[in-house]
Every structure is written in C-alpha cells, then in structure tokens.
C-alpha cells in the first residue's frame, strides 16, 4: 500500500519537475537547461516576499510565479534570440545562465537551515496503515489539475493552438502569421511559470538550497529522456516509471539505490530507444 501511495506521490513530483521543461521543448524545441535554476530561484523569491516583505504565502507564491515567468520570457529575448535555431548553442546558453543563477544564490548566502517555505495546509489523513499529509495530497492535486489545464490550454485556446502549430511545423505556422519568436518566448515564460508552480507546492515539503536546482534539472532530463523529450504523455509515463522505480528500489534493494534509478533509466532508454518511449523527434532517424 505504501509503495503504491508514495510511488504515486513521487511520480507526480517528478512530473511537476518536468512539466515546464517538456512543454517548452515540445513547443519551441528549446531545451531550457536553466529550468532547475528557475525552479529554486522562484522558491527563494517567495521566501523573500514572505520573510523580508511580510506578504502572506499565497500572495508571495503568485508574485513569485509571475516574476519567474517574466524572467523566462526575458531569457528568450536577451539570451536566446541570437543563438536561436542552433540547439547546442541554446543548450549551452541556458545551462550557463542556470549555473550563473545557482552560483549567485549560493554566493548571496541562500544555503543552510533557515530557508523553508510554509506548508499550505497542515495535518493529514491515513489510508489503511499509511499516513499522508495534506501537503503531499495538495502536490498530487496540483499535478492532476496542471495536466488538465495544460490539455485545455493547448487544445482550446488561440495561444495554445498557436503553440501546437509551432510544435508541429514551424514553417507552416509562420506562413499563417504565427510569430516564431513570440511563441518561443511565451513557451519559455510558460515553462518557467510551471517550474515556479511546482516549486511553490513541492518546496514546502523540505528545505531550500541552490543545489536543488541541479537535482531538479537532472530529474527533469531523466523523465523527459525516458518518456520522450517533447511528449506530454511520455512525460507522465516517464515520471511514473522513475517515481515507482525509486520507491521500489528503496524498499526492495536499499534506500541508497534510489538516486541511481533515474540515471540507470536514462542509460537504458538511450541504448534501447534513444527517442524515448513516446518521442517522435528522432524516431525516423532511428528507423533509418
């Protein structure tokens, strides 16, 4: 029972880590390697609003999501515009920006035992012998709601349809008046906002430190590579494979092997099906 429940919770956490990264890549082809840095930056931004400005947590969280989204948007125009279309350069630029942010946070003293966001709700319930706190249920609820909202957004809104058009064929999308740079920058903003939303619900479970940024990036990459970089369904399946894999490894082999699971999954998938389980981008190359 606990394997099922905590496997599910762990999977949803991984899906939330990955949602913004996967969506951004799916729409604009930008592998945003500053995703993890944006995640933890949003956490520290909220902490500052909460503790330095004295704002209530929900307001601090909303402001933090907005600021992170704006940052993602600006990243595109300031850093990515000149290297747009060169995937390796895009990757290097976003990675460097992310590392720069993490180092800056560390240098400014954002480490140690004092940085922690409050729980949205205290207490919990018991399902059989397994106790679950409301915050983890809130994480699961947020994950489910986000998947639904994203589906609604990309299928039933003009902007979402433009995103899909761009994802399917950039040239055709351009020919019907969809501006590539705007969609690219908005996809970066949306990806950053999703990272921040994930941070607002997951970070209260523990403490904050800049090194979390790298951890989130590694998990997001692992899930995206396993599921297929641009595939939303792949992201969900990848999260569940790694999420349940980690909890099962801890239970049956030993807790210290949990950290190996995502790395082993990356290696296995790259050997067996490099495009990922639901990936399409490289599938044709693989067939050839």
């Amino acid at each position: 029972m606990s394997l099922l429940i905590y496997g599910l919770i762990n999977s949803v956490i991984l899906a939330l880590y990955t949602a913004g990264f996967s969506l951004c890549y799916g729409i604009s082809g930008i592998a945003n390697f500053s995703h993890g840095a944006l995640y933890i930056l949003s956490g520290f931004t909220a902490w500052n609003f909460l503790n330095a400005a004295g704002l209530p947590f929900y307001l601090a969280a909303v402001l933090s999501v907005i600021i992170t989204a704006i940052l993602g948007f600006l990243f595109y125009w300031v850093l990515l515009l000149r290297v747009r279309g060169t995937p390796l350069a895009e990757l290097i630029v976003t990675f460097a920006a992310g590392m720069g942010m993490l180092e800056l946070l560390t240098w400014k003293g954002f480490y140690g035992m004092r940085y922690s966001l409050p729980l949205s709700m205290k207490g919990g319930i018991e399902i059989g012998p397994v106790a679950i706190d409301f915050q983890r249920l809130f994480v699961v609820g947020t994950g489910v709601a986000l998947v639904f909202l994203l589906w609604f957004f990309v299928h039933h809104t003009r902007l979402g349809l433009a995103f899909r058009a761009m994802a399917q064929n950039e040239r055709t999308a351009l020919s019907v008046g969809i501006e590539s740079d705007w969609v690219g920058s908005l996809s970066m903003a949306l990806g950053a906002a999703l990272a921040a939303i994930a941070a607002m619900v997951i970070l209260p479970l523990g403490m904050m430190e800049s090194s979390i940024g790298l951890e989130v990036l590694i998990y997001a990459l692992a899930v995206a590579i396993v599921g297929g970089l641009e595939s939303t369904l792949g992201m969900i399946v990848g999260s569940f494979i790694i999420g349940f894999g980690q909890i099962a490894a801890a239970r049956y082999i030993g807790a210290k092997w949990m950290i190996i699971v995502p790395l082993a999954a990356i290696v296995l998938v790259l050997v067996i099906k490099p495009s990922g389980i639901f990936g399409k981008f490289k599938e044709l190359e693989e067939r050839v």
């Binding site: 762990n10 004092r114 922690s116 915050q135 523990g206 430190e209 950290i259």
Partner: protein, 430 residues
C-alpha cells in the same frame, strides 16, 4: 662633552632595553597567514569561518602572536573546497587545497575539509607541503587509521574536534538511558552513506545489539536524498520506538525532519540531525521538533551550558559580532578553539617552522570552549564524558517545553552537564 654623550647614550640604551626585549606590537610586522580551505557555502564551513575570524580578531586586538620577540598579527585566507555540496568530486576539493597552500603559503591550516573523504585524500597533500593542519569538521575515524600507517609523514595533521565514534558513543549512552528510563527498545537507523555517518551508525548499531535492542531496519541513503518515505514507512510498519538518525547535509536532514513530522511517525528521534538541533529549529521545522534529541559536538557549538560558562561567553561574543547564533549544532566552538591552540603553539615554538609548531602542538594543554584540549598519540583531541577540565566534552539535548510553553533545548547527557531528564512524548505513553 664626550662623557655627557656617552652617559646619554647609555641612558637611552637602558631605557630602551625593556622595549627591545619585549615582543614588538604587530602593527608593522608581517602577518602570520592562516589558511581556511573548507566548504565555505555550507553552514559548517561558513559559521566555522566566522568563529575563526572572531578568534583572530580577539588575538589581534591583543597585539597578535609572539613569534620569538616579534608580535605578529594573524591573517586569514580562504579557499572554497565545495566538498560539502553534493556531487563535488574529491579531486576538485584537493585542487582548491593545493592552490591555497602553494599560492597563499599559509603557516597553518584550520577547519580544513568538510567531507571525510576529502580529508583522507588531503592528508598526503598536507604531509607533502608540511603545513600544520588543525581539522575541525570532518569526523571519520579513518583519519586515525591512516595516521597510524605513517605517523612521521602525517605528523602535521591534528584533529581539534570529535570524531564520529565520540559522537556516536554519546548517543549510544543516551540510548541506554532511553531504554532504562523510558522502556523503549525497538530502533530503526537511517544514515547518510558517507564515511563518518557510516562509522556513527555502525557504532550505534553495535552498541544496541549488545544491549538488547530490537533492530527494525538499517537504512543508508545517498547524501543527495530528498525522499525518506520508504524508511519512515518501515519505521511505522515495524513499530520502531526510536529512529537513530545521522545526517549532516542540511537539505536532506531538513526534508527528513519535515517528512517525519508530516507522516506522523510515532518514534522518538535520536542522533545528529542539524536542522532539528539548530537554535532556529522550531521556526524552520515547526513545533514538532519537541522531544527530538541531538548530540552537539563538542559543547559550545550553539548551546550555552549553565555548567560550562565558557560556552556562553563564546556564544555571546559570536552573537554580538554577527547578530545571530551559529546554526549547526556542531564544530563551531572547535573552529574558535583551534585558532587559540595554534597561536599558543606558535608562541611556544617561537618560530613558524612547521616541525617546531607541530612539536608544540603535540604538547597542547589548552582549556578551550569545547573542554580541555589535549592530543593523543594519533593527534586526535581526547574526549570523555566526565569533566570538561580533563577532556573535551559533548552534550546531548532534548527539545522540551518550559513552563511558559516555549521550546528549549535541555541538556540531558552527560550527567555532569544535565539540566533535566528525558521526557517521553505523550503519544508514546502506553
């Protein structure tokens, strides 16, 4: 006229004689460089450095350190080894060490490596460059084993703090009290898969096996772990009455503490869990820290003890200078003491020659904040559980509510430092 000149010259000479005989104040003298290569952006490293700077400031305010007949100020140089951050390769930390030694040429090193794996690897480097090294963070007993292999080579290395076995012994004896006074005897261990924590958990496990505890689990986690639900579930399902936890990375320990609270695990926490032992724990983790027990090694790291006034004096000075108490319940007082131990050794050596300083360090007999500082034949500070006037000492405290309902850390072990008894949480009473 000639006679008057000779008389005046003699008067000047004799008047000035005491001045020449006394060590000269250090304003113009070259500073003595002390190196601090450690993981600066971790609580242990950053608060340790603050403690070192506090000690240096005090010594310099009194004119510095007498080297022969010249008083020289101390100057601290730092290098960030980053070895307290998960994923930093040992090699990178060693490069930072070597760069500092070769470029800054410190007369001695204090604090040193954070991670035990780095300390062990750095031993050869320190021996090669012959720099007296007073380590105050890394806790592995492998240090002694390595030292014993070639004492002549490793003679420059000293440990001015506890090792994991000392900390674990305090916890083992606290567990004896828990068993005897509270009647608990089922334990699950959770530890970080690093050298020092393995040694700590191993000693706890051995002691508990010998004293009749039932083991529910022995769980190692990678130091970057961020989900402890499998072990906590095991504790709940196995009805563990005590969780023996050993963890030093604040992030993981913080996640654990919050998860333990969230999952309502009905087990008493005992061990070393920095965020639960820190003075700001009730604010950061929550009021659920109540009843948690942590070993503070050595005394004076964060908690002022009524029976050891020096701990309070150090912490008052620290708070006055930095506006806050140190956060991690470990090794801050060791960093502070290490500077005085070094200064005393330099004065007794009368030279900055590393061999002479090492010889003087071996004869150290210094009453520090952390207790009496003496080294054994393996250059390890001697610790005991009886008296701070004879050895270094640690303390185990429990978070308890006072009469006004405020959470306070109450020393419960060793007996001579205890200010209260262990309390059993009401949710554990049968």
């Amino acid at each position: 006229m000639k006679r008057r000149i000779i008389v005046m010259a003699l008067v000047f000479l004799f008047a000035g004689f005491p001045f020449f005989m006394q060590p000269q104040e250090g304003a113009c003298a070259d500073p003595i460089v002390i190196g601090v290569p450690t993981s600066l952006y971790t609580p242990f490293g950053s608060y340790g450095l603050k403690a070192v700077n506090l000690a240096v400031e005090e010594i310099n305010a009194k004119g510095g350190v007498a080297v022969g007949n010249v008083k020289r100020p101390l100057k601290v140089v730092v290098a960030d080894t980053r070895d307290g951050e998960p994923g930093t390769p040992v090699h990178d930390a060693l490069m930072a060490y070597e760069k500092m030694i070769t470029e800054q040429k410190p007369a001695a090193i204090v604090i040193g490596a954070f991670r035990s794996e780095v300390l062990i690897a750095a031993m050869d480097l320190v021996a090669k460059y012959k720099v007296p090294h007073l380590g105050t963070i890394a806790q592995t007993p492998v240090f002694q084993a390595q030292f014993k292999k070639d004492p002549a080579k490793y003679k420059y290395l000293f440990r001015v703090t506890t090792d994991a076995l000392v900390d674990a012994t305090y916890i083992a004896h606290t567990l004896d009290m828990v068993k005897k006074d509270l009647g608990l005897d089922k334990i699950l261990y959770i530890y970080q898969d690093t050298l020092w924590a393995k040694a700590f958990a191993g000693l706890m496990q051995k002691h508990c096996k010998e004293t009749g505890w039932t083991e529910v689990g022995y769980e190692a986690y990678a130091d970057g772990a961020s989900d402890f639900s499998p072990a906590l579930t095991k504790a709940k399902e196995g009805k563990a009455q005590v969780i023996g936890m050993v963890w030093d990375v604040p992030l993981g320990a913080g996640v654990f503490a919050k998860q333990y609270v969230a999952m309502k695990v009905p087990s008493l926490l005992v061990g070393f869990i920095p965020p639960m032992g820190s003075p700001i724990a009730p604010k950061v983790v929550g009021p659920e820290v109540e009843y948690g027990m942590t070993v503070e090694f050595p005394v004076g790291a964060t908690l002022a003890l009524a029976k050891l006034p020096k701990t309070g004096e150090f912490l008052d000075k620290f708070k006055k200078k930095y506006g806050e108490l140190p956060e991690p319940p470990a090794v801050n007082s060791s960093a502070y003491d290490s500077v005085f131990v070094l200064a005393s050794a330099i004065e007794r050596a009368g030279s900055l020659d590393p061999d002479k300083i090492t010889e003087a360090l071996e004869k150290t007999d210094y009453p520090g904040v952390s207790g009496k500082i003496k080294f054994n034949q393996d250059h390890i500070m001697v610790f005991g559980e009886k008296s701070a006037e004879e050895t270094g000492v640690c303390v185990v405290f429990q978070w308890q509510k006072d009469k006004d309902g405020n959470l306070k850390r109450v020393p419960i072990y060793p007996e001579f430092l205890a200010e209260g008894k262990i309390q059993l949480p009401p949710w554990m009473k049968k």
